[in-house]
């Protein structure tokens, strides 16, 4: 591991200022960053420890939604009574991710910025355009069973690994940022970037910019939500395919539907095609399958990951069944 300078600023302004230097990184839970520093994939020369900042609270927001501090730990967010009752898809997604130990460390802001689990990204012996721009992609011709079927390019097919972010996509979260230029807010849907020709750029964060809060809007009355994660083991494994569903049905018709997927996209993947296929339709098997087909229509599977297309469709159908079945 490369040596680094360490600082622990006590205010957000000082943290942003301290991270203005080149090759400096914020550290919070450290569960992704320390791992990748040990592998020499991440090589910051300075770490700004943000754990002392006052960003660790979950509060009601003025519009009736929820304001989540960037330093709220994944376990605290998952077990928060407000989250469990009103945003169960988020609680379920968090509890499906990582292990209890990691969830006690990992933060809301850090989870959004998790790096991919692509084997070739994590191993410096291989080419990787995300790690070393222009070096090539070893995954496209390599083993790519775990890789993306949506949003890939000829330069990168690495999936985004987060479960939490998928739930937040379906909940239409907003990310609040603080940088040297001041504050700004970005819809989570616009926060992530697909790889295109620049897979090293995964989101719209400017150098030195800090995630301070994530806000969730209130949901329509009677909305139900669910996160379904499919993986190689029963627990403690990244998703091969997952579905986050937020849906409200009245009179047998779907009034409101949000669909997002994990494990299949180069970013947490919201499918507006699926949402359109659900909006205003009868809540039945036929509609669900049509929505799933629409969601995966843009998929470009490769040799080893073609199974994910059908797997993701079934995840969507099953999650829709769970959220719409009458008690």
């Amino acid at each position: 591991m490369q040596a680094f300078r360490y600082s622990q600023p006590k205010s957000i302004d000082n943290a942003v200022e301290a991270n203005g230097r080149q090759n400096s990184k914020f550290i919070a839970g450290g569960t992704t960053l320390v791992d990748l520093m040990k592998l020499n994939v991440e090589k910051p020369t300075a770490l700004v420890d943000v754990n002392g900042l006052p960003l660790d609270r979950i509060e009601p927001s003025s519009d009736g939604g929820l304001k989540i501090g960037a330093l709220v730990r994944n376990s605290d967010l998952a077990w928060n009574s407000n989250v469990k009752q009103r945003y169960s898809v988020l609680s379920e997604a968090l509890l499906a991710g990582a292990s209890p130990q990691l969830r006690n460390m990992a933060t809301t802001g850090g989870n959004l910025l998790q790096r991919t689990r692509c084997y070739y990204f994590r191993d410096t012996n291989y080419q990787c355009n995300k790690r070393e721009p222009g070096s090539g992609c070893a995954a496209i011709d390599g083993f790519h069973r775990i890789h993306a079927v949506l949003g890939g390019s000829e330069h990168c097919i690495a999936t985004h690994p987060s479960d939490m972010a998928v739930a937040m996509m379906a909940l239409e979260a907003t990310v609040h940022l603080r940088g040297a230029q001041g504050e700004r807010s970005v819809a989570l849907n616009d926060f992530y970037l697909v790889p295109g020709t620049t897979p090293e750029k995964e989101n719209v964060l400017e150098p030195g910019e800090l995630i301070t809060y994530v806000t969730l809007p209130p949901l329509p009355q009677g909305t139900r939500s669910h996160y379904l994660k499919l993986r190689d083991r029963a627990s403690y494994e990244f998703a091969l395919a997952s579905a986050a569903i937020v849906v409200q049905v009245s009179g047998g018709k779907i009034q409101h539907a949000r669909v997002a997927m994990g494990g299949v996209g180069t970013k947490p993947w919201r499918s507006k095609e699926a949402e359109q296929a659900l909006q205003g339709r009868e809540a039945n098997e036929h509609t669900f399958r049509a929505a799933a087909e629409a969601a995966l229509k843009p998929a470009k599977p490769l040799r080893d990951n073609a199974f994910k297309v059908e797997l993701a469709k079934r995840a969507i159908v099953r999650a829709l069944q769970v959220t719409t079945q009458t008690a």
């Binding site: 360490y6 569960t31 791992d35």
Partner: protein, 226 residues
């Protein structure tokens, strides 16, 4: 399970003295497997006839501290572990796990994968379980750190430790301290009552011997008797 403590000196000699004075007497003399092997190695070839006696003599020799051996970039770090304060010099890139094992001579916390995948390094930070391999020691100067060495209180095993013995919750033992730290922490977590809930809550601790059934039984016995 005998409670043992390593005789190697702590880096800070002041701390060492207070630690020695306040510690309860180890149940198994001043030996541990590690001190035995370390001293055996140092004794080299000549001591083959009476390694135990030789090692015993060596451990009682005055403590040679490794203090102030200048590591470039090391800074003073204060850690509160098992109720005792330790002041040591550490480079910022030393993980909490390495600080415990290599700098503070507390090898009860194990290094398995060193990447947050196996759970062998599980310790408690302010009562919550975490992977000590994925955090830098310098980040925990205000935290209460509890390791397996500090789980037993007043010479009494923690109920999870006792239940692991009763149910044979291990085979080779390498993952055991992490399993026990995890099991002890989950007693305070809002998880369900069933075996399947314990399996899920213990999934961050891998046991390659496959002692899972007995581990679940041990944890469940403690939860049901609580």
């Amino acid at each position: 399970m005998p409670k043992t403590r390593d005789p190697e000196p702590l880096v800070d000699s002041k701390e060492k003295n207070s630690a020695d004075a306040s510690n309860t007497q180890p149940l198994f003399g001043r030996f541990s497997r590690r001190s035995f092997l370390t001293q055996l190695g140092a004794a080299s070839l000549a001591a083959t006839t009476a390694p135990l006696a030789h090692a015993a003599a060596a451990t009682q020799a005055p403590a040679e501290t490794t203090e102030k051996t200048a590591v470039p970039g090391a800074v003073p770090v204060t850690l509160k572990i098992n109720g005792q304060t330790h002041q040591i010099m550490l480079e910022p890139r030393v993980t909490l796990l390495d600080a415990l094992r290599e700098n503070l001579q507390m090898p009860g916390t194990k290094k398995g994968c060193d990447h947050g995948q196996c759970g062998a390094c599980t310790v408690h930070l302010n009562g919550r379980r975490v992977n000590s391999c994925l955090s830098f020691a310098i980040m925990h100067q205000n935290d209460e750190i509890t390791t397996i060495e500090g789980l037993a209180q007043h010479g009494e095993l923690h109920p999870v430790q006792a239940a692991f013995i009763e149910h044979d919750g291990f085979q080779c033992g390498y993952c055991t301290s992490g399993q026990i730290m995890s099991g002890a922490a989950l007693l305070k977590e809002p998880i369900g009552k069933e075996d399947v809930d314990v399996r899920e809550a213990m999934s961050g601790n891998i046991c390659r011997c496959g002692a899972y059934n007995n581990i679940v039984a041990a944890v469940q016995q403690v939860r049901q008797s609580a």
